[in-house]
């Protein structure tokens, strides 16, 4: 009749659960309408089988003693039925139990309210667990308070996970801040060096690329631990400075998750296309538009980005090909075993970029 041995394998034990005789014993000692007949049998079986630790306390006896505790309760706390019945629930508290939730329990009992609290409880062997305790009054047909029902759930793991998640969020934020600062300092170095060496426009060009990369990387921090990124957010961030009003830039792709390794290429390529569109393409006129779509290829091995310009001035292919940005994009994609296809139609430039999406690992 003592505590249930947790070392017994679950499957055979589940069958044995039906032979938890605590509910039956409780029922025979509390012959009232609520626990007789079919509902009584259901009560008995449910109490015996549930993995939720449950106890009933009697508000009509001095100091609200526990009058029933199911098997899961005994398993959770390590106390046997004999050690549990007749005692007030506070026997599970210990030196490190916070008095605040305890006070809330006391208040709920006094007001016959339902309360849910999390408090640190102690097992028989002295170890602790975080108990999500739900407590509420149970009335009979006549509206008379007959029991307090308590269900307890060990949420130690949940709490640990929550703490870890909070910590991870703080780390991500700190990392994000340091990264922004680092990019700002790098920008400073490039600009100042450009001034001192008299190559300001080159420095500005390099800086624009660094900034585009910075914006792309920034979006990857929130779920850095997952190893993959939402490429849509990165695309949006890279192109954000060009999006003076919603008429100019149309992003039609959806959230596609890609391995982290594609970020530099996507960031730099889109930056160069945007810079070209500003100088020679759709964005050099007031009414020009760029729409950007992205999707994974059928087999998921590549990311395909389609950049289409409309409403710009007549396309001058020579002017676009000549830029250093174009050379960089070509080299970069060739090195990454990707591809870029440019198609000049009357309406404007359409570029299809293919970036391999194999993860580094």
């Amino acid at each position: 009749m003592s505590t249930d041995d947790e070392s017994i394998p679950n499957r055979s034990n589940q069958a044995a659960m039906r032979f938890d005789d605590a509910p039956e014993r409780f029922r025979s000692g509390h012959r009232s309408a609520q626990f007789s007949g079919a509902s009584g049998v259901l009560f008995e079986q449910a109490m015996a089988q549930t993995r939720m630790a449950i106890c009933l306390c009697d508000p009509n006896q001095a100091d609200l003693p526990i009058v029933f505790a199911n098997r899961a309760f005994r398993r959770l706390t390590g106390y046997s039925e004999e050690e549990t019945v007749g005692r007030n629930c506070r026997f599970l508290q210990g030196p490190k139990t916070d008095p605040e939730p305890v006070a809330r329990i006391r208040e709920a009992i006094a007001n016959e309210d339902v309360v849910v609290v999390e408090l640190l409880n102690y097992r028989k062997n002295g170890t602790t667990f975080w108990n999500a305790l739900h407590l509420g009054p149970i009335y009979n047909d006549q509206g008379k308070l007959v029991y307090f029902f308590g269900s307890q759930w060990d949420v130690s793991d949940v709490r640990a996970a929550r703490a870890e998640e909070r910590h991870a969020k703080e780390m991500a934020r700190e990392l994000s801040h340091r990264m922004k600062n680092m990019f700002a300092v790098i920008s400073g170095i490039v600009n100042v060096t450009g001034r001192v060496r008299g190559i300001q426009s080159e420095a500005a060009e390099i800086n624009a690329r660094i900034q585009a990369l910075g914006r792309a990387y920034e979006t990857t921090l929130d779920d850095a631990s997952s190893g993959s990124i939402d490429i849509g957010e990165a695309i949006r961030a890279v192109l954000m400075p060009y999006d003076r009003d919603s008429e100019r830039l149309l992003l039609t792709g959806n959230g596609v998750r890609m391995p982290f390794t594609v970020i530099s290429i996507v960031g730099l390529v889109l930056h160069e296309l945007a810079a070209n569109a500003t100088k020679h393409g759709a964005w050099s006129s007031e009414t020009g538009q760029v729409s950007v779509d992205w999707r994974p290829s059928e087999d998921g091995s590549t990311l395909v980005i389609v950049w289409s310009e409309q409403g710009g001035p007549p396309v001058d292919a020579e002017a676009i090909v000549a830029g250093t940005g174009t050379a960089i994009v070509e080299r970069l994609l060739a090195t990454a075993r990707g591809a870029i296809e440019r198609d000049w139609s009357e309406n404007g430039l359409t570029v299809t970029i293919t970036v391999p999406a194999r993860s580094a690992g």
């Binding site: 801040h177 600062n181 920008s187 400073g188 600009n191 900034q211």
Partner: protein
């Protein structure tokens, strides 16, 4: 007498970058690495100051808050130049001031600050400087 831009920034490379950019716009740059340096400059040059660009976190938990209070008192416009406003304490967040997120190109920061102070379109300010 050139108009001045007050620059408060504890990272010297960013400060230098902003200083060059301010000169490009035809403004004299007054540079400070700490709040007290900035307050000194305000005392001496308040009359010439068009606008201030303030880094929010100045290391060891110090912020530009005291400087914003003095600028407000004197009616000198300012913008905040910071990586992440959420990190800052209540005081700074409640300022509800104009913000340029780091990292941003130095000429964008200065252009935006001057435009904000003069109530003009940032693109127009830049063109006027060129």
């Amino acid at each position: 007498m050139a108009h001045c831009v007050l620059l408060l920034e504890d990272e010297p490379l960013i400060l230098m970058d902003l200083e060059f950019a301010a000169k490009d716009f035809g403004y004299k740059a007054l540079t400070a690495a700490t709040a007290s340096e900035a307050l000194d400059l305000i005392t001496k040059h308040a009359g010439e100051m068009t606008v201030a660009v303030l880094d929010v976190s100045l290391g060891e938990g110090r912020t530009c808050y005291s400087v914003t209070q003095e600028l407000d008192r004197l009616g000198i416009p300012f913008i905040l130049h910071s990586g992440d406003l959420d990190r800052h304490d209540e005081q700074v967040r409640e300022l509800d001031a104009e913000l340029i997120a780091k990292p941003a190109a130095a000429d964008k920061v200065i252009g935006a600050a001057i435009a904000y102070a003069l109530g003009e379109d940032p693109d127009r300010v830049r063109m006027a400087a060129e």
